[in-house]
């Protein structure tokens, strides 16, 4: 496996392999951090032809309320931050960015509300979507009726980008599959004599797919494993004790769990209380690197000794490391000072999404010399590399999927490091080309 310094190189080469160098990666990074270098400042734009007057409307949709409300709140805060930075630097080609949103928690009207933002409120680009189900639900409407770009920043099902190439749908955030694959590699690497592998995940597509991918990959790289029957529990389950005890009874070496949000925290604490981590070697949770979950767990519940607790996510606010990668440092600091918290992954991804929109429009502008049509924006997004807090993100043209670091880290108390809740340390960074399947290839069965 690789240490952090090499890791950054690999991220680079991941991108080099895509004809952008490590340096180039940071070049873009720098350039984005100083917009005036690529984008004309308002002063210049005033003279520019073909720039429509009036604000550029971006609409987003997340769970703003309900059990997963924090995700929306945090994403929204990051988008506001990005908007302010863009506008204070003269907007996009001089057009001021304006944000509007709808609450995904109104599950009955997800489609209607997206349509409303586009058809009634004049939104030109869409960002967001927490639930995989909702994201799939929207495909038809976006592709056929609305025909505006939707940049997904959270929903993680491979089906969104890897089952077919969509015209208008992009995903900037890492999807679930590479993270699960990385977990499998990590198990093979670090736990050579682990045999019994168990799973407890939420009882819906995300939970099933994660286990499907993880177990399939693991059987490839570690033929001797014995996979126990996966346990799936209802989303929002609050009492896991029976499952935990049946797990203890089964005595797995490795426990893989795709529980997330409050469920992950609730399960974790009950597992600690019931001493599950004393009987297993390691626990892998692809969604543990979410600050809301870590907050809910609290330092008190980080077991000292016992199993290794591994967590991952789509963005971790301490990676890329602040001392080698200023963009992340800058983002974390301004976010902290604005919101008073460290940015959770949804903040990193949503912030990057808006920055990607800006970069794409400016890229297109350089080519077409006027404000780009939707198709031109889409074209510009394809193959775009945008450097944001998550490190350089490359948008694969052939599946519209954002490519960047995949990491796994160990859970440890945050207090000693000066953080209010547990954090992930000893990050292991994976070569994208090793964990991200080629475009439109997936372990999940489509349709």
């Amino acid at each position: 496996m690789v240490n952090r310094r090499e890791a950054l190189k690999i991220v680079g080469t991941g991108i080099v392999g895509l004809a952008v160098g490590l340096g180039a990666g940071y070049q873009i990074g720098v350039s984005v951090s100083k917009p005036q270098e690529t984008a004309p400042t308002p002063a210049e734009t005033t003279g520019l032809p073909g720039i429509p007057s009036g604000a550029f409307k971006v609409g987003y949709m997340y769970f703003m309320t309900g059990p997963f409300g924090t995700y929306g709140q945090m994403a929204s805060a990051a988008l506001e931050l990005a908007k302010d930075e863009i506008n204070s630097a003269g907007g996009i080609l001089g057009r001021e960015v304006e944000l509007t949103y709808k609450d995904e928690a109104d599950r009955e009207h997800v489609v209607d509300n997206i349509v409303k933002m586009v058809q009634d409120e004049g939104v030109e680009v869409l960002i967001g979507i927490d639930s995989s189900g909702d994201s799939l639900k929207l495909i038809k409407t976006i592709e056929e009726e609305l025909q505006v770009p939707l940049i997904v920043t959270h929903a993680a099902t491979p089906k969104l980008t890897e089952c077919a190439k969509r015209k208008f749908i992009f995903r900037i955030s890492m999807y679930e599959e590479p993270i699960d694959i990385a977990a499998a590699l990590l198990v093979a690497e670090k736990y050579p004599d682990a045999v019994k592998i168990a799973n407890i995940g939420p009882d819906y597509a995300y939970g099933w797919d994660s286990w499907a991918v993880f177990s399939a990959k693991l059987e490839e790289v570690k033929p001797n494993v014995e996979l126990l029957d996966p346990i799936y529990v209802k989303l929002g389950t609050t009492d896991y004790t029976s499952y935990i005890d049946s797990l203890i009874e089964a005595k797995p070496d490795i426990l893989f769990s795709s529980l997330w949000g409050g469920d992950a925290a609730t399960f974790f604490k009950q597992a600690v209380a019931k001493g599950l981590f004393d009987v297993i070697d390691a626990y892998f949770n692809p969604m543990l690197g979410a600050t809301d979950t870590l907050k809910a767990i609290g330092d008190e519940n980080v077991p000292s000794g016992g199993a290794d607790i591994w967590g991952s996510g789509r963005y971790w606010f301490l990676h890329p490391s602040h001392n080698v990668y200023p963009l992340n440092k800058k983002f974390v600091e301004s976010f902290k000072s604005k919101v008073g918290e460290y940015p959770p992954y949804v903040s990193g991804t949503s912030y990057t999404a808006l920055m990607a929109v800006k970069a794409a429009i400016e890229k297109a502008y350089v080519e077409v010399g006027s404000w780009p049509e939707v198709d031109e924006i889409v074209k510009a997004l394809e193959g775009l590399t945008v450097a944001g807090p998550m490190g350089p993100v490359y948008i694969r043209p052939d599946d519209h999927q954002g490519i960047y670091d995949v990491y796994w880290g160990k859970l440890s108390k945050g207090g000693p490091e000066g953080y209010p809740y547990p954090i992930l340390t000893d990050l292991v960074i994976f070569d994208p080309s090793k964990v991200i399947p080629p475009p439109l290839k997936t372990y999940v069965k489509c349709g």
Partner: protein, 315 residues
């Protein structure tokens, strides 16, 4: 005894025709989003009228009507997406599912009345919800079924199809409710014991009302999933059953067109609430509470009461 033409009843066909004329003209004046919104509103309205056959006319409060709405929607979606049956086939399939569902749940819950009945229907609604959630090979679980084709392609065309079908359905229901059977429903609502003594087969009539009611709400659901192009289990959760009750009471359960208007108003209210506040749930809750205390007979009910009073005073 007034023998004026029944079709001129403002709370019946006349009112319906007027409303639908307005709805049919709407697309000329409002943007595509509102056409879509109205389409949803019309379907909610039809669903609420269906619910009201049981509630307002037969005196049985169902708190599980979302299961009919949802199963109608899923029936069509499954037929189209999983079995490739085409529209006619899928709609037939959905109708069959609805018939089965209503007969079985009716048989089990109609052994009780009043609140106990409400509770049973609610519980059955949850059972169906759980099944839909679990049977993922068929229903796609939480992801539901997406990419459902829409007849006539564009929303506006489909909107007119919805209008056409809704008019027919509503007129048929109105006809039914004004037939001797409709009277039987009402006698059972008002006084099941006397109805029985007079010789009405109370249990059979209740069952009939339950099935028709479920079927109508289900048909509205059947038209819903092609409109949305997707359907997820949320459409079967018990809170949507409550929403249907809300719509009926909002419009006025004692008046035939009340629930229909209730459905449309509900959608517009919801849309408005979500625009003005992120706490739209509370807004709807307060609205419901105010309605119950200030206008228990519902909007339309209130209007007609007012007209009656006004007439009374002029006399």
């Amino acid at each position: 005894m007034n023998k004026q033409n029944k079709y001129l009843d403002p709370t019946g066909p006349l009112g319906l025709i007027i409303i639908f004329l307005v709805l049919a003209l709407a697309p000329l004046f409002v943007g595509p989003f509102y056409v879509r919104l109205l389409a949803v509103g019309i379907l909610y309205g039809v669903a609420a009228v269906g619910f009201n056959i049981l509630f307002g006319y037969t005196g049985l409060l169902s708190f599980g009507h979302a299961m009919f709405w949802g199963m109608g929607a899923y029936g069509v979606a499954i037929g189209l997406e999983k079995f490739g049956l085409g529209f006619i086939g899928s709609f037939t399939l959905a109708i069959c599912i609805l018939l089965g569902l209503s007969v079985v749940t009716g048989f089990l819950s109609l052994r009780h009345t009043k609140i106990y009945f409400a509770m049973l229907t609610l519980a059955f609604g949850q059972l169906v919800y759980a099944i839909i959630l679990k049977w993922r090979d068929l229903t796609g679980g939480d992801e539901g079924i997406y990419g459902i084709p829409r007849p006539l392609e564009t929303v506006t065309n489909y909107y007119y199809l919805i209008i056409a079908i809704s008019i027919v359905i509503l007129l048929l229901i109105w006809r039914l409710l004004n037939s001797p059977l409709g009277v039987a429903f009402q006698t059972i609502r008002d006084n099941p014991y006397r109805a029985e003594v007079l010789g009405y087969p109370v249990k059979r009539v209740r069952m009939l009302s339950y099935v028709v009611s479920g079927l109508v709400t289900g048909v509205a659901g059947m038209l819903y999933s092609p409109l949305q192009g997707a359907i997820t289990p949320e459409s079967l959760y018990w809170t949507f059953s409550a929403a249907i009750v809300f719509m009926a009471v909002l419009g006025g359960p004692r008046i035939f067109i009340g629930p229909f208007i209730g459905g449309i108003v509900y959608v517009l209210l919801m849309n408005y609430a979500m625009d003005i506040t992120e706490y739209w749930m509370m807004a709807m809750g307060i609205m419901l509470a105010l309605l119950i205390y200030l206008l228990p007979q519902g909007i339309v009910g209130g209007i007609f009461d007012y007209i009656k009073k006004a007439r009374g005073e002029t006399k």
